[in-house]
Symmetry: C2
Subunit: 254 residues, 2 copies
C-alpha cells in the first residue's frame, strides 16, 4: 500500500473542480456507507481508508489503496467530519436513447444547488425514476456535495445532460410534458400519466421561457388552506418529491 | 447613520454562535427578499444596507442603520454572495399552550442539519402547519443557515423547543401520534387525521426509542415500484413534505 502523498491530497482536492473531474472522468465519494454502496457499481481508481475499515473490507478492488491515519484522512477529506474512507471512482457513460420517455422522467432546468441536485437523485431513486435529464447549465452531478447528498442513489439513477428544448421536441407530441406553475391546475384534480416528462426549474427563476413553451400540462401543488398567506414557493427538491409521490400514488394506490 | 465598525462586524459574525444569539435574543437575516419579508414581523435592532437598497426603502424602522459599500457588506456577511442588506432581528417569544394539538403539528426529534430545518419550516408554512415542536437537541431555528433556508417561513411558523416525550404525554391518548417507519402502514391506505402529531426523526438515527414508544400510528412512505432495490430512506425534509402533502390531500381533495 502506498502512503498518502502531498500530491495525492492535492489531486483529491482538485476534484472539487468540475473541469478536473471531467478531464479525469472520475468523482469523489466519502464515508463507509456511501463508499461501500458505490464500490459495487463503479470501478475504483483510488481508495484511502483507516486500517480498521480496510480490515473489515478485505476484498476491495481499487487501482490503488492507501492505509491512512485519521489525521491524514482529515487532510485529504472535503468533509467537516471525515469518516474512515474516501474513494475516487470512475464516472459512468450513459447513452440517451430516443425511447427513454416510456418511463416517467424528471427533467431539471438549470437547478444550481449541489445539495438540491443530490436530494433529487436520492428521491428519484426512491420513486423509481431511472433517468434524470438536465439542461447543460444544471449543476454537475459529480460535484462532491451532490454525490454525498444522493446517499447512494447516484448508483441507480442515470443523469444525462443535453438541451432540454431539443430533447422535449424529440419526444413526439403524444408525450405529456408536466411542469409546476402558480397558475397551473391543482395536481390532485388532474389525472397524471404513468409516463411523461416532469420539468423542474431553477431555484430562483423557475422554468425557462423556451422550455415553458413546450409544457402541455401545467400543474400546481396546492398550499393549505388555499388562499392563506404563505411562502411563495417550495424548495425545488421538495416540490419534485411531492409531485413524484403524487404520480406514483395515482399509478399504484389511487 | 453610523458607519460599520470593526466591532460591529465582529458582533455580526458572533451571531453564528447559538450561545450569543440566545444571550442577545436576536438572529441574523440577509438579502433583500428575506429581510424585506421579516421586517414586517420582527423588530429590527440593526440594519446594514447599500445606498441603493436604502433609497428604495425610505420607511425602515431599526434601532440602528448603517449605509455600507458592497465591500463593507461582504466583510459583515456570512453568505458567499452578500446581497444588498443584512439585518439583526429580535427573536420572538412563543408560548406552548396545552391545546396546541387541535391543529396538525410537526414534531422534530433531534433534526441536526440547519438546511433541513429551514426547508421544513418553509414547507410547514406552505402546508399550513403553524407550530413545530422540537426536541431540545434539535438544531437552533435561529442558525443563520436555517433562517436563510426558511425563505421567510420563519415569520409565520412558530418553533418551540421542549421535551418531546413530556409534550406527547401531555396531549391525551385520543390525539393520534404519527411517525414513519420501514415497518409502518402504507400511508396511502390509512385515513390520516385532520389534527394530530407528526414526528420526524434525526437524519442518521431516526426517531428516538422513548418517543417511538409513544407513537400510535406507524406510517410508511411507499417507494416505487415496491420491493425494488432503492435508497434506504428519504431525506428528512423530503419525507416531511411528502407526509404533510398527503395529510392535506386527504383533508381537502380526497
Amino acid at each position: 500500500m502506498a502512503p498518502l502523498s502531498k500530491n495525492k491530497i492535492k489531486y483529491i482536492h482538485s476534484l472539487e473542480q468540475k473541469k478536473i473531474r471531467k478531464e479525469e472522468r472520475v468523482f469523489l465519494a466519502e464515508g463507509p456507507k456511501l463508499v461501500g454502496d458505490l464500490l459495487e457499481y463503479f470501478p475504483c481508481r483510488f481508495l484511502a481508508a483507516t486500517s480498521l475499515w480496510l480490515q473489515s473490507h478485505p476484498n476491495i478492488y481499487a487501482g490503488e489503496i492507501a492505509e491512512v491515519s485519521q489525521e491524514e484522512l482529515s487532510r485529504a477529506s472535503l468533509l467537516k467530519t471525515p469518516q474512515q474512507v474516501l474513494a475516487i471512482l470512475e464516472q459512468p457513460q450513459y447513452t440517451l436513447t430516443p425511447d427513454i420517455a416510456r418511463h416517467s422522467l424528471c427533467l431539471l432546468d438549470d437547478v444550481q444547488d449541489p445539495g438540491n441536485m443530490g436530494t433529487i437523485i436520492r428521491l428519484a431513486d426512491w420513486f423509481g425514476i431511472e433517468d434524470i435529464i438536465c439542461s447543460q447549465n444544471t449543476v454537475d452531478v459529480y460535484n462532491p456535495k451532490t454525490v454525498q447528498a444522493t446517499m447512494g442513489g447516484i448508483a441507480r439513477v442515470r443523469v444525462h445532460y443535453t438541451s432540454l428544448p431539443d430533447f422535449i421536441r424529440s419526444q413526439g407530441k403524444e408525450i405529456p410534458v408536466f411542469g409546476t406553475f402558480l397558475d397551473g391546475q391543482n395536481m390532485y384534480e388532474q389525472p397524471l400519466a404513468a409516463n411523461g416528462l416532469i420539468v423542474m426549474g431553477n431555484e430562483g427563476n423557475g422554468i425557462g421561457k423556451e422550455v415553458e413553451a413546450l409544457i402541455n400540462r401545467k400543474l400546481y401543488i396546492p398550499n393549505y388552506p388555499q388562499g392563506q398567506e404563505t411562502s411563495e414557493s417550495l424548495n425545488v427538491a421538495i416540490a419534485t418529491a411531492v409531485i413524484c409521490a403524487e404520480f406514483r400514488r395515482q399509478a399504484a394506490w389511487k
